[in-house]
Subunit: 159 residues, 2 copies
């Protein structure tokens, strides 16, 4: 049975930023989150953290986050955005998703889940399902362990 033969079932998919406003997280929460991750709550980390974690699950590139930050209140440099994204990722607050070989996406949802990638919109969307897509994980070669599983279902607009 090949992958293409596999059964296809209905699944809810995450509507993107819907519900963003609903997920209220206070400024104080962000500060706590940073502290408990061992990161000093500086002005720019708080701002970026606020943008990232204050509005529900998000998928961003460095450029997107930089523009959003600039559009908002505080001045942040692009380099700092990159640094901060990496610091947040090492601290386990973000998860890096490999979608294509050009840009890096960061996901505020760090739990095990997978993604749709909408090709013509460069849009990354959580796959929300009750049953796991992956039924089993192959045993890695001697001396290695599984560091993570990345599943991206690429979507194309129907002709």
């Amino acid at each position: 049975m090949t992958q293409t033969d596999s059964a296809v079932r209905d699944v809810e998919y995450d509507p993107g930023l819907a519900g963003a406003a609903a997920a209220g997280r206070t400024w104080h929460d962000v500060k706590q989150k940073l502290r408990s991750a061992g990161l000093r709550p500086t002005r720019q980390r708080l701002l970026l953290g606020w943008i990232l974690f204050g509005k529900g699950d998000r998928h961003v590139t460095a450029e997107m986050l930089y523009e959003e930050a600039t559009r908002e209140k505080l001045r942040v440099s692009l380099a700092t955005v990159y640094n901060t994204l990496h610091q947040f990722t090492s601290a386990g607050l973000l998860r890096r998703v490999a979608v294509d070989a050009s840009r890096a996406y960061f996901d505020t949802n760090t739990s095990a889940h997978h993604h749709f990638f909408v090709e013509d919109k460069d849009d990354l969307v959580d796959i929300v399902a009750n049953d796991p897509l992956i039924g089993w994980i192959p045993v890695p070669p001697e001396g290695y362990e599984v560091a993570g599983v990345n599943v991206v279902v690429r979507l194309r607009r129907k002709r």
Copy 2:
């Protein structure tokens, strides 16, 4: 049941370049392959095709292929390597694999299958299994169709 709870079974994994020598493909075969893909068999396409398809399944980046070509016989420019990889991919002779957000990998095995990625060696390895990893594919949102599924199991050297 989360991804981490999933069952783990034994699986053969592709030994990399082992069997490379065995997969004899003649120069004539490569020429045929190019022609039937609608690509004019030029000197550099033949060379690159020979390297790619003459030695069994391979996973290469542009840089790797360029170095290998240079080390061999003919002079090819890096730009031509990039162009050729893309032409081969559009023609369906190669498949692009998104592993990390920095380099693009190309796989000579265009059938549906998935990969291990060995982090510290930047090495991509086919997952060869009898049962599919993915049991089902979620139904995409209205107006979209699935263009492809990319699964990468990231491996880390055991501490």
